[in-house]
């Protein structure tokens, strides 16, 4: 089931084409990565999805319907421009925003208490928000995003300002949200987080969709004809079909001819009595894919 259907979205700001024929779906219960460099059109796309901006063309369906007032309470949104009321206490701030998301007082208090303990903010609940550190405020913002248990969570750079411990905690929470059947759209520049968390992703650049699909599909799309091997003894001869051998730390990177399958190299090594300690098809990292895609567009 699709929770988000975006079809042929277009949006111009004057002469700037911010979003250009963007289409994608987000399935129920997945973590979807929305990637792109600064100014790519990610935030504009999200704002159109949330009816903050109106599209010039295209259609957005959330939960199979155009966004309506009652849909708002099913969405948890942590925007790029982070905000909290600075002059009131943390608990007042969280409770107020939870109530605006339709929670009754008792439920809001109950959930807030649970989250404050989970995020290690229990001792800071009576403090004014402005006295909290940036990381603490970030955690409070995540609480506000999740407290009404939304079906769709849209979260922009969830890990900025968090230390490694809290980053892991937020990752665990997002993974837990997915396990509970909730859908997460995550905008981030941290590609390794996308690799670890996301089921599918879309890379947007200059308002256009550059890559879209599951991580495996995209990585396969960018897979090189290379294998990484680590042997107990060094290679005495070049296996057939290998164009070059490059040492890399304790391994060797073998560049294969276009029509050579990695399996044939493994078979050759075993046939020649090499002790194989590591054999890996060299898939590109998302960082590499990102840079390759974005810089490739720039070069064009």
């Amino acid at each position: 089931m699709n929770y988000v259907d975006v079809k042929h979205l277009r949006k111009n700001f004057g002469s700037l084409q911010a979003v250009d024929d963007v289409s994608f779906n987000v399935y129920k219960g997945e973590i979807f990565g929305l990637l792109g460099p600064n100014g790519a059109g990610k935030t504009t796309t999200i704002r159109i999805m949330l009816d903050i901006y109106q599209a010039d063309a295209g259609e957005v369906l959330l939960f199979d319907k155009p966004i309506r007032p009652e849909t708002r309470d099913r969405i948890g949104y942590l925007p790029e421009e982070r905000g909290l009321y600075q002059d009131i206490t943390l608990e007042r701030c969280i409770l107020y925003l939870a109530r605006l998301k339709g929670l009754d007082k008792a439920t809001a208090e109950d959930r807030m208490n649970t989250y404050l303990k989970q995020f290690d903010l229990e001792d800071h609940r009576k403090k004014k928000v402005k006295t909290l550190s940036k990381g603490m405020q970030q955690k409070a913002q995540i609480i506000v995003t999740l407290i009404h248990e939304p079906d769709l969570i849209i979260i922009d750079e969830p890990f900025s300002a968090l230390d490694p411990v809290n980053t892991q905690m937020v990752k665990d929470i997002l993974a837990e949200q997915r396990r509970q059947g909730r859908t997460v759209i995550m905008c981030t520049h941290q590609m390794h987080q996308v690799e670890q968390l996301c089921d599918r992703m879309m890379l947007i650049h200059n308002g256009k969709v550059m890559l879209y699909g599951s991580l495996r599909e995209i990585q396969n799309q960018f897979a090189r004809q290379e294998v990484l091997v680590e042997l107990l003894n060094p290679l005495e001869s070049t296996p057939p079909g290998v164009l070059s051998i490059t040492p890399r730390n304790h391994s060797q990177l073998l560049e294969l001819a276009p029509d050579v399958a990695p399996q044939s190299i493994l078979q050759w090594l075993m046939h020649n009595n090499h002790t194989v300690q590591r054999f890996e098809v060299a898939a590109p990292t998302l960082d590499e894919i990102f840079i390759q895609t974005v810089s490739g567009t720039k070069a064009e």
């Binding site: 903050i52 901006y53 969405i75 909290l84 998301k101």
Partner: protein, 399 residues
């Protein structure tokens, strides 16, 4: 509706929980009470209770009768008669009197009285002596005549066109609409400034993107308007308690019988409610368009200036309620709530002007609410950048 209530509650509590709010609210009545208290105390402390002499060459005070004092704090001056000016002067030199009046022998015709004292200054004893003379001059007339002279005539003005009535002697019924209008002015101004502050705070706290994905702009506007006006009402209520306490303490006001002109009150209420919403709309639009509190102040000076103009022209409006300038400000949407009720109190206002006034104010209110909604959607997402006026009038797709 639950969300609107939450916004009202949040806005109200955020303001009234601030120490600065209570310092601001309490400082004005406390300063007024202190000023009045110090003035009264100074009057008593500096009052010279030494008797004042008089020499009556006219015989008006031959069988002197002392009136009840008109001074709410009691008779301050005691008068002592002298046979002639020389003995009075001697008493002054001895310090037994602080001065002495000499009533001319032809006083009935020329009203001449001389007061001899140490240094020239305004003195409460002259007023008391004037009352003493008037009271004794009227002793020979019946009570009814004396009362009439003291109380004056009750002149009522009746309109041959509208059957309306204006009682000039019941001054309080003329002053009260002015006081009420002034209170409304404070409410609109203070409420508007709180709304502006609240909007700027949303922008400075970067909360708007979260808020407009939780509530719609109209809910936000209604909540903020009511919440911040409740703050202004609280302020007025505190001032009212202080002011009411002082007024009730004045025995001179016990005789007042307030008569309410319901036509004026209903019109005031209609215009007031529209104006509140209109001001809220304009202040919200200004808050959403500006980058910070200072910037918002620059955007709203125009409203403050326009709304203050009727105060400058209030004498003209009261004494010439149907002059062109009075009519203009009673129809102009930003000042109508203040000027129209005053005009209605002091003159007959044609029905067409009343209808036009309500229509103009209602139209301006709808315009301001629409403007605020657009400004919120467009301005609240632009941080550190002021929204241009022209952006408010572009179609949604163009922004």
């Amino acid at each position: 509706m639950k969300k609107v209530w939450e916004i009202i509650r949040h806005e109200y509590l955020t303001q009234v929980r601030r120490k600065s709010f209570w310092v601001g609210v309490l400082s004005i009545p406390i300063m007024m009470v202190l000023a009045i208290g110090i003035s009264v105390a100074a009057m008593f402390i500096s009052a010279d209770t030494t008797p004042v002499g008089y020499v009556d060459h006219s015989g008006v005070l031959a069988e002197v009768v002392y009136p009840e004092s008109e001074n709410p704090f009691g008779q301050l001056t005691t008068f002592v008669p002298f046979e002639d000016a020389a003995s009075a002067r001697q008493a002054f030199l001895n310090g037994t009197v602080q001065g002495y009046f000499v009533i001319d022998e032809n006083y009935i015709n020329n009203g001449m009285v001389e007061f001899f004292t140490g240094s020239l200054s305004f003195d409460t004893s002259t007023g008391d002596f004037r009352s003493l003379l008037r009271f004794n001059l009227l002793q020979q007339y019946p009570d009814a005549v004396r009362t009439r002279v003291y109380d004056g005539s009750k002149i009522s003005i009746r309109s041959l066109e509208t059957a309306e009535e204006l009682n000039l002697d019941q001054w309080w019924n003329l002053v009260l609409p002015l006081v009420f209008a002034f209170m409304l002015f404070i409410l609109v101004q203070v409420g508007g400034s709180y709304i502006l502050q609240a909007m700027v705070a949303e922008k400075e706290n970067r909360m708007m993107e979260i808020l407009i994905t939780a509530v719609n702009p109209l809910e936000l506007m209604i909540g903020k308007t009511i919440g911040n006006l409740a703050v202004a009402f609280t302020m007025l209520a505190v001032w009212g308690i202080f002011g009411g306490g002082i007024l009730l303490a004045l025995p001179a006001l016990a005789f007042i019988q307030i008569s309410i002109n319901w036509g004026v009150q209903i019109m005031t209420l209609i215009l007031f409610l529209f104006t509140l919403l209109m001001m809220a709309g304009f202040m919200m639009a200004a808050g959403a368009m500006s980058t910070d509190a200072r910037d918002s102040g620059q955007l709203t000076w125009f409203f403050s200036l326009i709304m203050t103009l009727p105060f400058i022209l209030i004498t003209k409006i009261i004494f010439d309620p149907n002059a062109a300038v009075s009519v203009f400000f009673s129809l102009f949407p930003l000042t109508a709530y203040f000027v129209m009720p005053i005009r209605m109190t002091f003159a007959s206002v044609p029905v067409w002007q009343l209808i036009l006034c309500v229509l103009l104010v209602a139209g301006a209110t709808v315009f301001s609410v629409r403007l605020a909604t657009v400004a919120m959607k467009r301005g609240m997402l632009t941080f550190n950048k002021r929204l241009k006026y022209i952006d408010l009038f572009k179609s949604r797709r163009q922004v």
